[in-house]
Symmetry: C2
Subunit: 393 residues, 2 copies
């Protein structure tokens, strides 16, 4: 195998797929990336895979001799990112002594040799039947992920709650995440479908049918990597989503992300969301986040509660924190309040996480009593609901 490619192309693609390479691999081969050189198409394909998440990407290269090999991902990445811009040659030969593959990475300044492992030992990415793609606009997908990912549980023991629950219902795609303390739900609308041959189909061709609806839960870890890929996409791009029983594949241009689904029943979160409220409050999002950031200075692991005092007569929300040993803080914000005045407490971190994920300038808090779930929604734009449980005062 021998390829000649540009340092920047190799660097960018390698750093992408390296994100799927596990830090502590369960099997040594998973610490490697698979490099496949195709002399017919003159392309190089790189793959990283941790048995749950797989990332694959292709780019143009001069393939002098085709072949495939796996290379230690971290070292390869560290070397390529430091090489000078310009042409890089990657090739491999078998070591004279032990007959193992030795990968050579040559630049204008010199040569590195790394111990590779035969491509035969690299596990195959699971195949997904690519019959029907759901085309998701990059903007909608980004919004859905931004509005939900933060609320997924980071605790591996919580299994299904470490994922994002996706529900396709005709032309809408709903993202939901909860860690048991709070719940975020975002509803986006998908634009169009394409058939396998890439032709766009209109509603007259194939109407979106109920049979094509689905619900599934995908690990947040995989979707965080998808979110990262989306930051490099153009706003008008679409991501193709393929779904089968055990796996999903997201495709954006030459970039491809495969993930297993999470097994198990996702909580029926819709029944947790109250539909009527005794009180509402509209505030400027940026202003309340800044206030919360300031008063949170006084918080510590023992005490993380901020108290809201609603003063409808004066159109004011008072935020206060009491930290006996350190001191106290009180700030006020202009707020549009309906309903009776009252006081309610929140875990400040959970509250801030949600407020940061909302994207509108103004947001509405929907309250019932001081110990009943609170819903925060944007005043306009995205269809998002953030449910947070209050803390007892």
């Amino acid at each position: 195998m021998k390829i000649i490619c540009s340092q920047s192309e190799l660097k960018n693609n390698l750093s992408l797929v390296s994100r799927a390479v596990p830090g502590r691999p369960t099997h040594p081969i998973l610490a490697n990336v698979l490099l496949v050189a195709d002399s017919e198409k003159n392309t190089v394909t790189l793959t990283g895979f941790d048995l749950s998440l797989g990332m694959r990407t292709s780019f143009a290269a001069e393939v002098e001799e085709e072949g495939s090999i796996t290379i230690p991902a971290k070292l390869f990445n560290d070397i390529v990112s430091r090489l000078p811009e310009g042409e890089i040659t990657v090739s491999f030969d078998y070591d004279d002594i032990d007959d193992n593959p030795l990968v050579a990475i040559a630049s204008m300044y010199g040569k590195f040799q790394l111990r590779g492992v035969s491509a035969d030992e690299f596990p195959e990415l699971p195949a997904v039947e690519k019959e029907e793609a759901l085309m998701l606009p990059v903007t909608a997908l980004s919004e859905g992920l931004k509005g939900s990912l933060f609320a997924a549980s980071g605790d591996e023991a919580k299994q299904i709650l470490t994922g994002i629950h996706l529900t396709r219902n005709l032309d809408t795609l709903e993202f939901a995440a909860t860690d048991g303390h709070r719940l975020a739900v975002v509803k986006t609308t998908d634009d169009k479908e394409v058939s396998e041959d890439g032709e766009e189909t209109t509603d007259e061709d194939i109407s979106i049918s109920e049979e094509q609806n689905f619900t599934m839960t995908i690990p947040a870890r995989a979707l965080r990597e998808l979110e990262r890929i989306l930051t490099m996409a153009k706003e008008e791009d679409n991501v193709a989503l393929y779904v089968d029983d055990g796996q999903v594949v997201f495709e954006l241009g030459a970039q491809n992300l495969t993930s297993r689904k999470l097994d198990g029943a996702y909580p029926n979160y819709n029944q947790l969301i109250p539909t009527s409220f005794d009180r509402t409050m509209v505030v400027e999002r940026k202003r309340i986040i800044e206030s919360l950031e300031r008063v949170s200075v006084l918080l510590d692991q023992k005490n993380n509660m901020v108290k809201f005092t609603l003063d409808g007569k004066n159109d004011q929300l008072f935020l206060s924190v009491e930290a006996n040993e350190l001191g106290n803080a009180k700030e006020s914000i202009v707020a549009e309040i309906t309903g009776d005045d009252f006081e309610i407490g929140f875990n400040i971190r959970y509250l801030m996480d949600g407020l940061k994920a909302l994207s509108s300038n103004e947001i509405t808090f929907h309250f019932n009593g001081a110990i009943q779930p609170v819903i925060v929604t944007p005043l306009s734009g995205l269809q998002m609901k953030y449910l947070i449980m209050p803390v007892k005062l």
Copy 2:
């Protein structure tokens, strides 16, 4: 006490003196900053002190009521840095309950109250007799520090080696640092002296006399903070240095850094520096640093050696690293070589530290044998010598 000042002034001065506040104070009061409000001068003076290093700075403020108080540095800093731009009021009163001082920090949005501690409990900065100041140009001082600080020992057990050794000899100031493995020496020239009343004196008035020479060792930690202050100074500024038996004071405008000296005899480093050499090599500094950064990818804690192979006939320096388990690397650099070809090994981290601290585009390596000390010097500019011991091949 009550002051009104600008948020940005308070923030900048507070973050400066906070750097002298120890993370783990030996006495609780040292976690505080001292704030002194002077109604006559309408200034506020802030002080942080860890009993070895003291930092003090003053700025203009509207002092409605003079007084002094100490405030927990981290909290005060965290709050002030998050407050909106504009006017801030800082005042204190005594708590109704326990009669302890309660410091109020008020902005347009609200008020924080922090538990303060009486200024009486704050230790005084040691006084230094300010008879004669040595005026040091900011550029020379920065160069001296940059060229030496990196080589001081970080191991507190090495005591005197955790400092920078300063030698004043007539109109030159020499900076030296060593941790036992390498030695950096920089010689700078000071411009002028001023007498206590601020008038510049010329060589005719007071000639620089041998009696004013000194040698002393100052903790690197203090000088790192000085280096940080210098980055905010103008190039044409001068720093006044006052020295007495136990302490030194650096003054730059309203900023003042006090440090104790380190006790003990500093190694007689000049006798370690060879004066004649069998070989020299001139290389481009940036190019060799980049090569070293690349090949260092293959190094780990067990193996940190880079091998230099000098090839005078071809004007080439070869750098190579062997890492049995991972692979190997070899790069070449154009070099101007005198003397016989040979091979020599270095600890790559020690080598890079020195090359990064040198400032000229081209540098000269001065070699004797493969196990004798090597000196690296800039080809032009600053008078700096970097001594590094080779590693056995």
